[in-house]
């Protein structure tokens, strides 16, 4: 517990700053909207949004759960698939040459146009939405991993070579570590994009979820509810990003602490 625990605790302490920024942003928002310069249908006051949140709390909670289900399922499936495929592609050269470009082409497909097609294939339930999230997570993570898995120092690769490491050993003992910063970057991106993909998919096709709630409340001009749903969707993202941040803290214990700041300025015990 102790070491990992300490890192996590440091991370949780790190949530204070974003919360402070959040509070500042909210204050600014309230001030701007209460001047009356901004019309309520352009941007309602936070108080209006809070009111809607309170009033529709059960609905919002239920729809959040739906969105979270889609986002997490897509995130999980996409990440696992990306790791598996990236490992395969790094070692099967022919498969990589043939498959990778086509996979990339998938990413270029406008998902707004894809969702209706997926609906035709899979029906109107969670499946097409999860598929869209999973696909986007998969491709983001794949592209990052394809680079990350080959990012180990040449010397380290040489060492493994002379030690007659098998492909699997190289993967597990070198590349898996070298790729970690790339994987973490992908996870961070996916954590934030998953929720948006889920909501947009719901917005287009769903009959549940926060995206659906945005759509229906926008359609019937319930501005407070619409923004409440938007805010909650963003909050979900914030939560997911927070979790990834905690994961990052424990994922690379070998990196000198001090993170992004110059090691030079922070070296030593002081």
């Amino acid at each position: 517990m102790s070491r990992v625990g300490r890192r996590i605790r440091d991370g949780a302490g790190g949530m204070r700053a974003p919360l402070a920024f959040l509070a500042a942003a909210l204050l600014l928002w309230q001030v701007v909207t209460s001047t009356g310069l901004v019309k309520f249908y352009v941007l309602p006051a936070p108080s209006t949004v809070l009111e809607a949140m309170a009033r529709y709390a059960p609905t919002i909670a239920e729809e959040s759960l739906a969105t979270l289900t889609v986002a997490l399922a897509g995130f999980g499936l996409g990440t696992v698939a990306a790791i598996a495929v990236a490992m395969t592609l790094t070692y099967a050269r022919l498969v990589r040459d043939a498959v990778y470009p086509l996979l990339l082409a998938l990413r270029a497909l406008p998902f707004i146009a894809i969702i209706p097609i997926l609906v035709v294939i899979m029906g109107t339930g969670y499946e097409p939405r999860i598929t869209v999230c999973a696909l986007s997570t998969f491709l983001t993570t794949l592209v990052n991993l394809m680079r990350g898995l080959r990012s180990a120092d040449a010397e380290v690769e040489e060492l493994m070579h002379t030690l007659n490491a098998t492909g699997m050993q190289r993967l597990l003992k070198v590349r898996a570590y070298a790729a970690r910063p790339y994987l973490l970057a992908a996870l961070r991106i996916s954590a934030s994009s998953c929720v948006i993909e889920a909501t947009v998919a719901e917005w287009i096709t769903g009959d549940s979820g926060l995206g659906y709630l945005v759509q229906i409340s926008g359609y019937t001009f319930q501005i407070g509810l619409m923004w409440a749903a938007i805010v909650v969707a963003s909050a979900l993202t914030l939560g997911l990003v927070g979790i990834i941040t905690l994961v990052e803290r424990v994922a690379m214990p070998w990196v000198p602490r001090g993170g992004v700041g110059a090691a030079a300025r922070q070296g030593g015990a002081a």
């Binding site: 019309k39 352009v42 239920e62 609906v119 035709v120 709630l213 229906i216 409340s217 926008g218 319930q222």
Partner: protein, 320 residues
């Protein structure tokens, strides 16, 4: 959240039917849901599944075999027929589509022709109708300024950035805009030269021609016609029913009541008083076929007769 409304009991003998809506559950789909919840289907020996709609065209779901009956409209049925789909329309909820143009009262547009010189907020989905409307009202494209607007967007017209918006749903946007303090005038699509019927129930010819399945369809229409009678008796109660039973999520009760009351006149008309609820109007279909050809939506003038397989008479719907 979703009401993947499962039938209360599914007797082995009951015939199953899947209905694909053109939108999520609202009071416009009161009848299918009411009949489900109150056991009208069960009574008729039907096992009905309702699939709320989204961005995927119902015609596609119907062609793909995902649903047995799709909620479409006259224009899309005719267009699909031209693309080779073998569809048959069996009944319709709205005698004329609630699709409409909404203008600010203060814009000075009191009749369609006044649109000349004005700014029109145009939704993507309505784009295909525009040439027909303009030629009907005698305005050319360069006499107006077109601004694209989003599918759920009323803020542009409230903010006065556009004078009129097209399309609007007669039971919804006009109310939202007026509630924001902007009085409006509403021009239904029928008045703009496209007498399309709305919420039309469409099936495939394969199903239609199968006597057993056709009998199921007839029973189903009977059940929902019964439900619509309930709605017409007390539209406000109908709206409450939808909201209270959570067939709608996130919808505002007041809005649903407004819609329910307004839509009554679209469901029960002189025509239905003479021909029965849910009856199709072949005359309107012929006119729309001509419009579809003029708009280039169809490659030739579609013969609408084979498309109309009105089952409302067979179901014996009330003449209201």
């Amino acid at each position: 959240a979703s009401q993947q409304a499962e039938p209360a009991t599914s007797a082995e003998s009951s015939a199953s039917l899947t209905i694909g809506l053109n939108y999520v559950g609202t009071v416009e789909h009161f009848a299918p849901y009411y009949a489900l919840k109150e056991g009208l289907y069960e009574k008729a020996g039907l096992d009905v599944t309702i699939k709320p709609g989204g961005d995927t065209p119902p015609s596609t779901l119907l062609a793909a075999g995902q649903v047995d009956v799709a909620v479409m409209d006259t224009l899309s049925t005719i267009t699909a027929a031209d693309k080779g789909a073998d569809f048959v329309a069996i009944a319709t909820e709205y005698q004329q589509t609630p699709t409409s143009m909404t203008c600010r009262k203060d814009s000075g547009v009191s009749k369609p022709a006044d649109l000349a010189g004005k700014t029109l907020g145009l939704k993507q989905a309505a784009n295909i109708y525009l040439p027909a409307i303009l030629s009907t009202i005698g305005v050319t494209k360069d006499q107006i300024k077109i601004v694209p607007i989003g599918g759920q967007d009323v803020s542009m017209i409230i903010a006065g950035q556009v004078d009129c918006m097209f399309s609007s749903f007669a039971f919804n946007e006009p109310r939202s805009i007026e509630m924001a303090g902007v009085p409006v005038t509403v021009f239904p699509l029928g008045d703009l030269g496209i007498p399309s019927q709305g919420n039309t129930y469409v099936t495939t010819r394969a199903i239609y021609d199968d006597p057993a399945k056709r009998a199921v369809l007839v029973k189903w229409i009977g059940a929902i016609a019964e439900a619509y009678e309930v709605l017409l008796r007390d539209p406000e109660a109908g709206a409450r029913y939808m909201v209270d039973n959570a067939f709608t999520t996130g919808l505002d009760l007041d809005q649903q009541i407004y819609q329910s009351k307004t839509q009554a006149s679209y469901i029960a008309t002189e025509y239905t008083a003479a021909n029965g609820l849910l009856a199709l109007n072949p005359e309107a279909w012929e006119k729309v076929a001509q419009v579809a050809k003029d708009l280039g939506l169809t490659s030739s003038l579609v013969d609408t007769k084979p498309l109309i397989g009105d089952l409302s008479k067979e179901a014996g719907t009330a003449k209201l």
